[in-house]
């Protein structure tokens, strides 16, 4: 979330798309309800009428997987409205704080759904380097701006041309959303473009779990920038994250492509730190300074990355990390470029025998990953597997799952009992980036141990093995690793994450003071400031008073949030060039000209406002971007600078209505047991989701009787017309099948799903929760037995949300 949960109350329009906040984040509705009491509108766009929709002022159904058409249509609506009624929009924001006015290279072309030429790789297509180079700014590191937005090659005009194809009729034809509903959404949300009004977009996996998931979010970003909703209270793009510490685990970068603090992972060919930073575009050389804007300086904060990687290496390798050995940079593993190491790629690599050993820490890929049948088969190819969990989950017992003979599975399996959240101590970071400390309340169940102690003990044993084996390859990094965790505590690690001034041994006060000369350490620069000499462990702070002058609900004294306790990021975009807030009722920050300082939230850098600062120090607001302005035009992504609509990998349509390019050309298409279904055999659109009463693969909820009581069985939701065609009555047992498998479920026949008319064709959608599996107290079939092994072009997030299925009644 760019903003945070409480801030939802400051919104004038809450636009929930690709999320079912009322069901999956029930407490969010505390704040959404308060916004509504203030007169805010709530919009829900969802294939299915959900508990969120039940509270919405406007509900619009849409065909799953057509978000880009929907959002592109909204962008088109807003652009037209901007041209007709510019007074209703914040033109200063659009021209000065985004790249709308910047000129793009003249050889940029968009043709029949493609932004250039594609070359085919093993699992996906990719634009050629030549094509990608046409997406850049004319003028390279000093692009010019046309503040009138009239230049035909400025971002605004290119975008206008691109989305002019997304008129309401075409949008309705693709999405199946009735045109009136679509226009009501456009009109209501466009109203937040007024100065002083704020609209927030809340999304979740409904937006991301597509082969073009990132481009869905890019669409939201463009819309929010056109409406000047970024950085303001009650605005932002808010990913409502689903796991208690998925934010923190992402910040700590338990991901193949990033190191703690979102530093890039080294790849083969990174000869030294400098070339690594250049390639990562986290280098002073990546600074872009637009010409012709009021702001004349781009902070390009990422150019500090050298300080952060060096401090990280110091935290990991201690005294062994020296300037001479580039602080141990080469002890970090280097990825092979072009190899997909993500979840889907990982399962494929198990399937093809590359991966021999796997440890799983509180995750359940045999139920939670895509194409679960394939994942379960793949696990049998492992030599050994470790499952660390508080329950026996589907992954841990894949070898004795229904229908397989355990004796035929060679994998050696270790299952370690872990503590639950209140049997141990530590911090977790919520979706609003608040890191909060939690305490041990009860003794662990049986011999269960905190993961922290398991990791510390395990690595200590591994380290000992390497100390004893002088012939072992690549042992230097292990031997030099700081691992002084014999009596490890969360407190000790929290300090290490924050980092030290190595000269004094004192905790660092903030990442602004981190150095690239090896005199500071920090396990994660983003968390530097969470634990200071003055304030102690700030994650444990419990000051219940909102100290913001206008009480906009920041509660800055309650816990701690990254970066440096900034509760609303990009907040320098919430003020005009003089530092006065656009929304005087809910100012995030404002410039106190008498005191020559910012008041309110921690600002995105303390520099004076653009009109106040001296020439050469007029810092543009979006400090994490090389160009200092927000990217309406986003050349960094795999499939082009503007989101373009494609059909999902499995689509009920023969063609893409918008262009000749049916699917995302850059999407990752897995090969491991991944059959593709066709509409003749699988005519219905299937989507998966969660319900309030269960959570993820269900292993954390299906062992709790109170929750089983509320939602006892796996079910399949469908519309009444489809049910009648198939002779299915409400409550009947049904089998839902895809090209990859079948699941049993109870039919929930409901008016909450309605057949949609898409390009004259009637489309039925079936919805499945994915909370069940064969382990635990209450079992059922896992919806992921049906989902495909395909992923987004940029992130390889699986396309869980749209695939083809069929359904039949079981007698």
């Amino acid at each position: 979330m760019t903003n945070h949960w409480i801030d939802l109350r400051n919104s004038d329009c809450v636009f929930i798309i690709g999320s079912n906040a009322a069901e999956n984040h029930p407490i969010s509705f505390k704040w959404i309800t308060q916004a509504k009491e203030r007169g805010a509108k709530l919009i829900s766009v969802d294939p299915r009428f959900t508990r969120t929709s039940s509270k919405a002022d406007i509900y619009a159904p849409m065909r799953s997987g057509t978000d880009i058409a929907f959002i592109g249509g909204m962008i088109n609506y807003v652009i037209n409205d901007i041209e007709q009624n510019p007074a209703n929009y914040n033109m200063e924001y659009i021209t000065q704080y985004t790249n709308a006015a910047l000129i793009i290279k003249s050889d940029f072309e968009f043709n029949n759904g493609l932004f250039g030429e594609i070359e085919q790789k093993e699992f996906n297509g990719a634009y050629t380097a030549a094509s990608k180079s046409t997406w850049g700014y004319a003028g390279g590191n000093a692009p010019t701006a046309d503040l009138t937005l009239k230049d035909p090659n400025c971002v605004f005009q290119l975008m206008k041309k691109h989305y002019s194809r997304y008129d309401a009729e075409t949008v309705s034809k693709i999405t199946g959303t009735p045109k009136e509903d679509f226009l009501r959404v456009c009109q209501a949300y466009a109203e937040t473009g007024k100065k002083g009004k704020a609209g927030t977009i809340c999304y979740a996996m409904g937006a991301t779990q597509h082969t073009y998931g990132v481009q869905n979010i890019r669409g939201y970003a463009i819309l929010q920038l056109l409406l000047a909703n970024m950085g303001v209270a009650g605005g932002g793009i808010n990913a409502l994250r689903g796991t208690s510490n998925v934010q923190g685990s992402t910040d700590m970068c338990l991901l193949e492509h990033i190191l703690p603090g979102y530093l890039n992972v080294p790849v083969e060919g990174d000869a030294d730190l400098d070339s690594y930073l250049r390639r990562s575009a986290k280098h002073p050389a990546s600074t872009v300074t637009p010409v012709g804007l009021a702001g004349d300086t781009s902070a390009n904060w990422w150019q500090n990355a050298r300080k952060y990687i060096v401090s990280l290496l110091k935290a990991w390798y201690g005294d062994a990390a020296t300037a001479e050995n580039e602080f141990g940079f080469h002890w970090l593993p280097k990825k092979k470029p072009g190899v997909n190491n993500t979840h889907i790629g990982l399962i494929e690599a198990i399937g093809t025998g590359i991966i021999k050993g796997l440890w799983v820490w509180g995750q359940n890929p045999a139920a939670g990953g895509p194409n679960a049948n394939g994942a379960r088969e793949a696990l049998a190819k492992l030599d050994w597997m470790v499952s660390v969990d508080i329950w026996e989950n589907e992954t841990a017992i894949f070898w004795k799952r229904p229908g397989v003979d355990p004796a035929s599975i060679k994998t050696e399996v270790f299952m370690l009992p872990a503590c639950c959240s209140y049997e141990k101590e530590g911090s977790i970071s919520n979706s609003g980036r608040w890191a909060q400390w939690r305490y041990k309340a009860v003794e662990p169940a049986g011999e269960a141990m905190p993961d922290l102690e398991i990791i510390a003990d395990l690595m200590a044993r591994i380290k000992k093995l390497y100390e004893a084996d002088a012939s072992a390859p690549g042992r230097e990094g292990i031997l030099n690793l700081t691992w002084d965790y014999e009596h490890v505590t969360a407190d000790q690690i929290a300090r290490e994450v924050n980092g030290y001034d190595l000269a004094t041994g004192k905790l660092m006060a903030s990442f602004a003071a981190l150095k690239d000369d090896g005199t500071t350490s920090s396990g994660n620069w983003l968390y530097c400031n969470q634990y200071t000499e003055e304030a102690g462990n700030k994650c444990a702070a419990r000051n219940p008073v909102d100290s913001h002058p206008q009480k906009i609900g920041l509660y800055s004294g309650w816990s701690w949030c990254w970066p440096v306790n900034r509760r609303i990021i990009y907040n320098r975009a919430s003020v005009d060039l003089n530092g006065n807030p656009y929304d005087v009722q809910h100012p995030v920050v404002s410039w106190d000209s008498q005191g020559a300082k910012w008041v309110g939230d921690v600002p995105d850098g303390g520099w004076a406002p653009i009109n106040v600062a001296d020439a050469g120090a007029k810092v543009l607001p979006f400090i994490m971007k090389g160009e200092g302005v927000a990217r309406i035009w986003g050349p960094g992504l795999a499939e082009g600078p503007l989101p373009e609509v494609y059909e999902p990998w499995e689509s009920p349509l023969a063609n893409n209505i918008m262009s000749g390019q049916k699917n995302n050309p850059c999407a990752f298409i897995g090969k491991w047991m991944n059959e593709q279904g066709t509409p003749d055999k699988y005519p219905y659109v299937c989507t998966t989701y969660r319900c309030t009463e269960h959570w993820q693969t269900g292993i954390m909820t299906r062992n709790l009787p109170w929750l089983n009581e509320l939602m006892p069985d796996m079910y399949a939701e469908m519309d009444e017309e489809l049910a009648e065609q198939k002779g299915i009555n409400n409550g009947d047992k049904v089998v839902v099948s895809s090209a990859r498998g079948e699941v049993n479920a109870v039919a929930v026949v409901t008016k909450r799903f309605k057949p949609l008319t898409v390009n004259g064709q009637t489309i039925h959608q079936i919805g499945l929760p994915w909370h069940w599996g064969y382990a635990g107290m209450k079992t059922g079939d896992s919806a992921n037995r049906l989902t495909p092994h395909v992923g987004d072009a940029n992130t390889t997030i699986p396309e869980y949300k749209t695939f083809l299925c069929s359904v039949r009644r079981v007698d």
Binding site: N245, I428, S431
Partner: protein, 188 residues
Amino acid sequence: MEISRRSFLKASGATLGGLFLFNGLDDKAIMARSLKKVPLQQKVTESTTICCYCSVGCGAIVSVYEDGIVKIEGDPDHPINEGALCPKGLAMSQIHQLDGKPNPYRLTKPLYRAPNSTEWEEKSWDWMLDTIASRAKATRDSTWVASAGRTDGLASFGGGELDNEECYLLSKMNRALGVVYLEHCARI
């Protein structure tokens, strides 16, 4: 409220008074009675926690009573949830305890399944960690790519349910071992 109660009395009085003159109305049911005062069980410990389910980050209070019963309710001081919790958050107590007894579905012992075996065997922590460590080393060494300082043979899943400190340590351990197949639920 007085008026309504009296009119109710009158109504029932009128209906029955004529019939049963021998017995006045017993108004026990209608007139308010004081409740027997039995104080709540004495709490032994209260600890704050953050809900382990979704990422709203609601505060909760874990109360452990004298008889060992664990109850978990929303933390009224917490600015995000102000004491509220959804059903999952409220059911958190059952992760530890069901109807006053330990939840029988929890794992309480390290379990090992030998290749092709049909069942789990109980093992000690020491044995488990030593064995895993040697398996990890063997796999890493046999799949070591010296030029890139990595192993493709060892993979790690998980982290979204761990604490930040655990995630950090897991990241540190995996990177030190050269693991590049390193993923967790944020990806999916």
